[in-house]
């Protein structure tokens, strides 16, 4: 074993490890609670003291995807054996399913708007980043700063004129409008990040390609793009997560057709009061993909959250 003055001692490592793991477990608790609550029955979810051991049920998920109403007294006497399992589950609580809820619609809106805006932000952002990185663009630094500064504006402050603009253009509460808006917000991130990634690719590769008779376009997509692919992919995930999580614009500019999941989930209520298992089920389905992406992103995390200001 090498002996170094900068290597922490065994005891120090243990001490640090215990504190960090302790913090991680505490910080994870609310998230675990969301997942657990999604599998609780209504009474279990609001039990005192809070239940750690409980009988898991998918009631919350059934409630999430359906709308229900109280059963009439005559219907309560009907045989339930040949009804589908989810109807039986709901009947145990004295309710009956009358239709599907809007959750899946809102979830798909999140997917369409998230992927749509990410696609455009990445295509346009990559092009702009390449130009900033490789050509002498007049006022380059000013333009880059301008692009970054658009992120400093409070969304609500920009929302007033955008609300008016969208109303005049017929873009209010449309997928196209939201994709356009999120593309604009994500462009600043994608230009800055991808610019950094392309800067790291030695310019000699392209020069060699140009000498071999490639056009600029060919050099761009045959040499630069493959080299920057990992960076662009991680940028795309960041854009996707932003659009996925965005709430302020979504709540102000959408109400029905194009509403995404974040403004919708808090409004989930069951028959008689807030249905926490259903809310937790909706949140779980919505949050878990982001956690998976976070694991995929972990090497580029720092770079993404600081707009490339910290690269290591």
């Amino acid at each position: 074993m090498s002996f170094s003055v900068t290597e922490p001692s065994h005891g120090q490592k243990w001490f640090a490890g215990i504190l960090v793991v302790g913090y991680a477990l505490i910080t994870l608790l609310p998230l675990l609670w969301i997942v657990a609550t999604g599998f609780k029955s209504g009474p279990d979810s609001i039990a005192y003291p809070p239940k750690i051991a409980f009988e898991p049920t998918v009631e919350g998920y059934v409630n999430l995807f359906t709308t229900q109403t109280r059963l009439s007294n005559e219907a309560k006497l009907e045989a339930v054996d040949d009804l589908p399992w989810y109807e039986q589950l709901v009947r145990e609580r004295g309710n009956t399913i009358v239709g599907t809820s809007r959750y899946s619609e809102r979830f798909f809106n999140s997917i369409i708007i998230g992927f749509g805006s990410t696609f455009f932000a990445i295509v346009l952002g990559t092009a702009a980043a390449y130009a900033f990185s490789r050509f002498r663009v007049p006022l380059k630094d000013d333009l880059l700063f301008f692009i970054l500064s658009t992120r400093m504006m409070p969304p609500i402050a920009v929302a007033i004129p955008i609300f008016l603009m969208f109303r005049n253009l017929g873009l209010s509460d449309t997928h196209a409008g939201m994709i356009l808006l999120y593309t604009a917000v994500n462009l600043s991130l994608s230009v800055w990040l991808i610019n950094g990634f392309i800067d790291e690719i030695p310019i000699e590769y392209e020069e060699a390609a140009l000498i071999d008779g490639y056009t600029r376009f060919q050099a761009f997509y045959k040499v630069v793009l493959p080299q920057a692919a990992t960076g662009i992919a991680s940028t795309a995930i960041f854009c996707l997560i932003f659009a996925w999580n965005e709430y302020a614009f979504a709540v102000l500019l959408t109400s029905g057709t194009a509403q995404t999941a974040p403004p919708f989930i808090p409004t989930i209520i069951g028959v008689g009061g807030q249905d926490w298992p259903a809310v937790a089920a909706g949140a779980t389905i919505f949050l878990v993909p982001v956690m998976v992406f976070t694991i995929l992103l972990r090497k580029h995390l720092l770079r993404g959250i600081t707009f490339g200001a910290v690269r290591k």
Binding site: G17, P50, F146, P154, P161, L164, A184, Y247, V279
Partner: protein, 314 residues
């Protein structure tokens, strides 16, 4: 000229430029940059100019037939002379200062501990980062459940630790607690952000500096204050800049948590602005409000960036 490609490039006769087919570099640069600039102008700059224009008028979205009049600086006067605005600013300042203080203290400590490179530190770092990546609105909404008196997990844990009755306090409902309820959730969510940046700072310090200090018999304590802190400071200041801007804009998390209540106690500026613009529909007034906020963020951020650059140069 220290590598082959450079030599090749410089040895290539200028005629190569003419042989390159297609558009000139300049045309490509324009084609590549133009759409981005256009979208940002349309969605960011044009609205900003429109906001400035509206801020001098009495326009109200819900009264389209009323004559739009120029009223000069009256909206600005009204906002700055309004005691409620200052109460809102105070709530925002409380939120900003405490979230930054707590996140810097906890974030730096965590980074310092993780940098001890114990086994599995990568895995635990990733786990700690989770809250930061999630939707603040969805998570904030769920925290209202954790904050429920009696049945809420948060109240239960606090009563378990302190012995207080879990139904005796309401983090969201009590006047004394609500400002802290939002600070706690924001700290839970964003401490990892400060932690990650501090960690990068700590890892950027070369071992050789500590080895040299060790040779000079500098105590660990002295090494910490004369090497670690000064070298991490630029990173820490960057983290504070990001958190400051983000929390000045704070809307989603707090609106879902407290809705600005009880009373106006946790009504941060963005929440107040939303009420003026989209509930009271005082568009001109709200536009002036937006301009004031924007100028404040921009002004504070640029002063701060100057200070940051000075620290970096040292």
């Amino acid at each position: 000229m220290d590598n082959v490609a450079d030599k090749v490039a410089s040895a290539t006769p200028p005629s190569i430029a003419h042989r390159v087919k297609g558009l000139s570099d300049r045309a490509i640069a324009w084609i590549f940059v133009a759409p981005t600039i256009f979208i940002l102008l349309a969605i960011n700059i044009f609205p900003l100019i429109w906001t400035v224009y509206l801020s001098f008028t009495n326009y109200a979205v819900n009264r389209p037939n009323r004559e739009v009049k120029f009223i000069g600086l009256r909206n600005y006067e009204r906002i700055l002379g309004d005691a409620d605005t200052w109460a809102t600013m105070q709530a925002t300042a409380h939120f900003l200062i405490w979230t930054i203080v707590l996140q810097v203290l906890i974030g730096f400590t965590l980074a310092y501990l993780i940098n001890k490179k114990f086994k599995g530190n990568d895995l635990w770092t990733t786990i700690i980062v989770f809250p930061m990546m999630l939707s603040p609105a969805v998570v904030g909404n769920f925290w209202t459940f954790l904050y429920q008196p009696q049945i809420g997990l948060f109240n239960y844990v606090i009563s378990f630790v302190t012995g207080a009755d879990p139904s005796s306090f309401s983090m969201i409902g009590d006047i004394a607690l609500a400002p802290w309820a939002i600070v706690i959730v924001d700290t839970w969510m964003w401490t990892p952000f400060v932690m990650l940046i501090c960690l990068a700072g700590l890892r950027s310090i070369p071992d050789s500096i500590y080895e040299a200090a060790e040779c000079d018999r500098a105590s660990k304590w002295r090494q910490f204050w004369t090497i670690t802190i000064p070298m991490v400071l630029p990173f820490l200041m960057l983290a504070v800049l990001f958190r400051g801007i983000e929390n000045f804009k704070m809307f989603d998390l707090v609106v879902q948590l407290t809705g600005g209540g009880p009373g106006n106690l946790t009504t941060l500026t963005s929440i107040d602005l939303k009420r003026e613009a989209f509930e009271k529909w005082r568009t001109g007034f709200a536009s002036a409000y937006a301009v004031i906020l924007f100028v404040t963020v921009f002004g504070l951020a640029s002063i701060y960036v100057k200070a940051l650059n000075r620290v970096k140069q040292r």
